[in-house]
Each structure stands twice: as C-alpha cells, then as structure tokens.
C-alpha cells in the first residue's frame, strides 16, 4: 500500500533541499560578484558540497535489512521512483554529450532522442508491472522463477554483467573527466575522487540509499541543465521557454547552411580538406614505412633547430604526440582521414532526414536497438521492483519518462542554439573571435584554424567536440562562473547517479544471484547484506581501475550495451510474460543465439569492416534481436510445454490481485 504520510514527508524534505540548493547558488553568485571568489574555489564548493550532501543521504539511509538493501523496502512512491529512474538512466552522455551530437549531426542525432525515450513505453506496458507483481530482487531471479532451473539464471547473470560493467566503466571515466575539468586535477585523481563519491552513496544503504541520493541528484542535474539554456533563449527571443522558442534558430541555421553550400571561399577550404584526406590515405597505404619516415622527419627537424629556438617546444610536442607504433598510426590516421573527408563535403541540411535508403535503414535500426535496449537494461528494470504496488509500477514508468523528458525536450534547443552560434562565427575575422571560443580552444573542445589563410572564418574551418555545446552555453549566454560550475556539478550528478545504479546491479548479480542463489543458499540475511557490501567495494575499485586507462573503446562499448541488452534480455523478459507457451529451452536458445549473433556482428563490423545493409556496429543488435525471438519461438514449439506449475506462475504475475504462485518469492 502507498503510505500517504511517507509521501508527504518526502515532499517536504526534498522541497527544503531544493530551496537550500537555490539559496546556495544565490550566495555563491553574491560571493563571486561582491567578494570576488575564484573559480577554483567555487569549483571545490560544488564538487565537495554536492558529494557531502549525497554522502549524508547515504549515511541516513544505511541499512542491514535484505529487502531495504536490494529493493529499498519496496516503498518508493511512483513520483520519486520516476525521479530516481530518470537520474539512474541519464548518464554523463545524456547530460553533456547528447545535445552536442544533435548539434553536429542534425536529424540523424534524433535517433538518440527518440530511442532513449521510446523504450519507456515498452517498459511501462510490456515489462515493469509484471516484474513488480512477481516481486523479486533481480532479472536473473525472474528468469529462474519463470523458466525454472539454474541455467536461465546463469545466462541472465552473464548478460547482466556484460551489459552493466562496460556501462559502469564509462560512467567512472565520465566522473574522472568532469572532476578534473572542474578542479584542474589530473584525470587519475579525478577518477578516485569520483569513486569515493560513488561509494558514499551506495555502500552503507544499498538500493535504499541509492534511491534517495538519486532523487537528490536528479534535482541538481535538471536545474543545472535548464538554467543556461533558459537564459540564452530569453536573450535571443524574450521567451524563456527554450523548448518552444528554438524554431527561429532552426530557420537561421538552415538559411545559413544553404548560403554556404556554393560559397567560393568554403569550396576552397573543402578542397584543402580533400587534399589532406588523400595524403592521409596514401600514408595509411604506405604503413609501416610512412610511420618511420614521419618519425625521422620530426627527429631531424628537432636536431636541426638550435637549442634555444622557441620553435623547439612545438616540434617536441609534435614528436610526443606522434603515434607510438604503426598500429596506433593506422587508427589515428584513419580517424583523421574520415574527419577530413567529412569536412570536404558541403554541409548537409540540419533538419532533413538521411537522404539515402542506407542512411534511413541505419537510423531506424539504431532507434529500435536503443528503445529495446532501454527496456532490457538491468539497472533500469531493477528500479521498478522498488515501487509499493503494480499500479505504481505502471505510473512510475510515466513519471520516469516525464522527468527524463524535461531534459530531452531541452536538448534540441541546446543543439539548435549551439549550431546557430557556431554558424555566427562564419564570416568573422580571426582577430574578433568571442571570448568563449578562445577559452574552449585551449582545451581543444573547439578548433578554429585559418586553413586558406584569408583571415576570415569559414564553416569548414571550425571543428567542435560534442561536449562543447552544453559546457559553453553558460558563457555564450553571458552568465557568471557560478553557473558554469553548477553545470559541471550537474554533469557530475548525472554520472554519479548512473554509476551507483549500475554498481548495485552488478554487485547484486554476483552476491544475490550467483553466490546466494547458486552456490551457498544457507546464508543468513545479515551475511547476505555484508557480502553484497563487500562486493560493491570490489566492483567499484575494479571499475575505477579499468577506467584509469581511459580506453577509447569504452565509449563505443556503452553504445553496444544497448544492442546486447536488446538481443539478450529483452526477448526473454517479454516472451516470459506474454507467451505462456515459452519454455526453458526456447528462452535459453534464444538468449544464447541473440548474444552470439550480436557479438559476432559487432566484431566483424567494427574490426573487419564487414557491414550488412549499411548497419553500423552501434545498431548491431538488429540481427541478433529478431534471431533471439525467432529461435526462442521455434525451439519452444518443438519441445514440451512448460510444467503446470510454471504456467500457473505466468497467470499469477499477469493479474495484480493475489499472491504470486511458485517462483522464488520470499
């Protein structure tokens, strides 16, 4: 039952919290204006201030009870579960990266906007209410109860671990980058500051603590996301509602892009890019000789310069950045070649969909994978176990989408304004670049280079990093440093909250699903929680250790996690609920085939360059997912139906009333 008093108390606590947050913002603003507080001081206040608050919530929510540790005692009202799910779901990539990707890719980027929201319809209708009725702790719990036996559970554990761990490493990497940007600390130190921030939220109180900190983190991240773009929108149009006002920017962008298409100066720069791409292509074809030659040239150049020549530092840096091996050279040069090739083409319309069938197919496939993947991600599904009732699980999916949409409806406005500002640079002299360009050029998030030497900026001479769009908006809008610092704190909250949700999912999969359910079922409740906590620590440190290497592949792995989840867990869950005839053999065969096909296609398309129908690695689940459904249906029809007991189990999760029969209910 929903406890009204509890809801009222929660509302009061979080209202006071939000008020306090705004008061601190105002105080810091006054501090900056009147007392002249330094940016680094403000950065420290935000970093340690927010982490201290999350830690305090974590400590208040400490628990030793199994149900509180795993599912927050199943008393999280749907509104708050919606906020927690939104924070759990939106990572540093949603917060910082998504608007930038949209700004750079135009219509193509919308696959992420629709893909990362449409999955909630599937969750709310196909999965969440039934898993809540079942009322266990994890996805493997469900697979075990529904299909019977340890094998389905084990396949579920493997899929959960693959999907969640890569995602976790990416979040810790994100925390490290934000912490180092905010404070100017080295990246490795940032990772460990982040690690501490993650652990204080989850270690003492498990899911209960994670839930209540996620609500707090959501409030920080949404306010931080909305302030800069609202002010900017007001400056442009006098209308503060950026989600409605950005139409003018779309029009401006399209007009400007159309003008640039046939501009002779632009064509000149495009030719330069084209030549550069051809040079790189020749160099790649000539590996490894070209690598050795390039290295020697730089070394000779350095030798030829006298010891006190100011140019030495530049050449030394070039030599330091030079690829360490022919393999690294190949990767680096291929990427540079692709970038040059892109820049050599005339700019595409911002709002037009992909022009060719191949592009459209890839767009739709990616969108489908992101949707099904969202509905199959263990750390998101877990959140629906924490609501008090089935009814609340249904509405909770709606609240989650509502809170996510506050950010997702705003991202296209950020993107359009970012693109608009970028195009406004075109035609300006290099000597009159605004301050924000100079500032972000220092950290290489934007590069403006006079390639044709005419002193005027051409569109093809600008290249920006996606992260730049959200991070630079406070300065473009002319806001004080406090807001820029707060935006970084918002990004930090997004990364921390997602990392916490993942961490608890992984440690539960090992401690509850693997150890308690499969190896040692005689554990006492308090021992189970203790083992859960110990594993949490181990997994977090392991995640931070891997994140320390900052592998380039990590960003890609996260995108792949969606395809993997869509091709493995999603079909098994949906069929388990909606197809009574589905049995153990079908589900296992489906999951194994789905995972295998997806991983093989990922490998072939990413590392061997083999692409079917133009499908990119990021949408690779488009082959494994239907295969999973097909194989599962086929195998289940060729093998005996599930036993009476399991069919009764399916019935009992389908109706909200009554207790769940059979299964692993405790």
């Amino acid at each position: 039952m929903v406890d009204r008093d509890f809801v009222d108390r929660l509302k009061k606590v979080y209202s006071i919290y939000t008020g306090g947050l705004i008061a601190i913002l105002v105080l810091l603003y006054l501090g900056e204006k009147v007392l002249g507080l330094s940016p680094s001081f403000i950065g420290y206040v935000f970093l340690f201030g927010t982490i201290a608050v999350y830690a305090a919530i974590g400590i208040i929510s400490r628990t030793g009870q199994v149900a509180e540790y795993y599912v927050a005692g199943r008393r999280v009202p749907s509104v708050f579960n919606g906020m927690a799910t939104a924070a759990d779901w939106m990572s540093a990539a949603s917060f910082i990266g998504m608007a930038g990707v949209l700004a750079l890719q135009g219509y193509n980027g919308l696959a992420f906007i629709m893909g990362w929201t449409g999955g909630y319809v599937l969750l709310g209708v196909l999965i969440a209410p039934y898993l809540r009725k079942f009322g266990a702790y994890t996805i493997p719990d469900f697979l075990d109860a529904r299909y019977g036996g340890k094998l389905p559970r084990f396949v579920g554990i493997v899929a959960t671990l693959i999907v969640s761990f890569t995602y976790l490493v990416a979040q810790i990497t994100g925390v490290g980058i934000i912490a180092s940007r905010l404070l100017g600390l080295p990246y490795e130190v940032g990772v460990f500051v982040g690690l501490a921030g993650i652990l204080v939220c989850s270690f003492l109180g498990g899911m209960k603590a994670v839930t209540w900190t996620q609500v707090a983190q959501y409030i920080v991240l949404i306010i931080a996301y909305l302030i800069p773009v609202t002010v900017l929108s007001y400056k442009y149009t006098g209308n503060p509602v950026s989600q409605i006002s950005y139409g003018f920017a779309l029009q401006g962008v399209e007009q400007k892009l159309a003008q640039l298409k046939d501009d002779p100066k632009e064509k000149e720069v495009r030719e330069i890019h084209k030549k550069r791409a051809e040079e790189l292509k020749a160099k790649i074809a000539n590996l490894p000789q070209s690598w050795e030659q390039g290295k020697k040239e730089l070394e000779n150049k350095l030798k030829a310069l006298p010891a006190n020549d100011p140019k030495r530092a530049e050449v030394e840096k070039q030599l330091k950045d030079y690829p360490k091996s022919p393999e690294e050279a190949k990767a680096k040069w291929t990427e540079a070649m692709k970038r040059a090739q892109d820049a050599s083409k005339p700019p595409r319309s911002y709002t037009a969909p992909p022009a060719d069938a191949k592009g459209m197919v890839n767009f739709l496939a990616l969108m489908l994978m992101l949707m099904l993947g969202t509905a199959g991600l263990p750390h998101v599904i877990m959140r629906f176990y924490t609501t008090p009732t089935v009814r609340e699980a249904r509405t909770s999916a709606g609240w989650a989408l509502f809170f996510i949409m506050l950010l997702y409806l705003t991202a296209p406005a950020y993107a359009a304004f970012g693109r608009y500002e970028m195009l406004n640079l075109v035609g300006k002299a290099f000597s009159e670049m605004p301050e924000w360009v100079q500032k972000w050029a220092k950290v290489n998030l934007i590069t403006v280079k006079d390639l044709n030497g005419d002193g005027i900026v051409q569109f093809a001479e600008i290249s920006i990093h996606p992260d730049m769009v959200v991070l630079a908006t406070p300065e473009i809008a002319g806001l004080p440093y406090v807001i820029a610092g707060f935006v970084a704190a918002g990004g930090l909250a997004a990364a921390l909250s997602t990392a916490d949700g993942l961490l608890i999912t992984i440690s539960n999969a090992i401690s509850h699903d693997l150890y308690y359910k499969m190896i040692n079922p005689n554990l006492s409740p308090s021992a189970r929680v203790k083992i859960g906590k110990a594993l949490l620590l181990v997994v977090a440190v392991l995640g931070a250790y891997v994140a320390k290497f900052k592998l380039a592949i990590i960003v890609e792995l996260v995108a792949w996690a969606f395809s993997l989840a869509a091709a493995s867990l999603f079909p098994a869950l949906v069929l388990g609920i909606w197809d009574k005839r589905m049995n153990k053999h079908g589900a296992i065969a489906g999951m194994v085939v789905g995972l295998t096909v997806t991983i093989v296609y990922l490998y072939l398309s990413r590392f061997k360059g083999i692409e079917l129908f133009g499908i990119k690695p990021i949408a690779s689940g488009i082959f494994g997912m239907p295969m999973n459904f097909l194989v599962a249906l086929l195998v289940s029809r060729l093998t005996p139906p599930p036993p009476e007991k399991l069919q009764a189990f399916v019935d009992s999760i389908r109706y909200p009333k009554g207790a769940v029969r059979a299964g692993a209910q405790e």
């Binding site: 219509y107 919308l110 906007i113 449409g118 319809v121 139409g247 779309l250 969909p353 009814r391 249904r394």
Partner: protein, 85 residues
C-alpha cells in the same frame, strides 16, 4: 477467486490495449521518421514538422501513451476485480 473465463477476458483486454499502444508508438516514431522529408515541408512556428516529431513530438506522444495505458488498466483491474488487495 475469479473464474478462468473472467481471467482470460481480462488478459484479452490487456492484450488489445497493448497492441493499440504499440501501434501508435511505432507510427509516431518509425512512421514519422520514414515520411519526415515530406513532413518537413510543413513549418509551424519555425519548426519543420518532420524534425519536430523526432525532436519533441514523438516524446510527448510516448508520455501520453504510458498515462493512457496506466489509466485504462486501472479501470480494467477494477472491472474484473483483480486490483491489488
């Protein structure tokens, strides 16, 4: 306890509702994307409609769909008296 027929009736209604929701879900996302080039010719308040559907329109429909489904299922629960105790 409910009779088998009643339970089956409940599930049939749920399944029908599920299909309605999924068809609309697919139309506003995949359907709209397929014809977005054509929709873009309609411009409202500066927004080309095809782009707008992908950026915001589909999302708003998604939210309405979840709310609609939750409301209707509430009613169905009550009609078949299978709401939670």
């Amino acid at each position: 306890m409910l009779s088998k027929e009643e339970l089956e009736g409940y599930w049939r209604e749920n399944r029908k509702l599920m299909w309605i929701v999924l068809v609309v879900w697919a139309l506003v996302s995949y359907g709209a994307a397929l014809i977005s080039g054509w929709l873009n010719r309609i411009v409202l308040l500066g927004f080309p409609l095809g782009y707008y559907m992908g950026a915001q329109g589909a999302l708003l429909v998604f939210l309405l769909l979840i709310v609609f489904y939750a409301k209707r299922m509430d009613e169905t629960d009550r009609k078949y008296r299978v709401e939670e105790d």
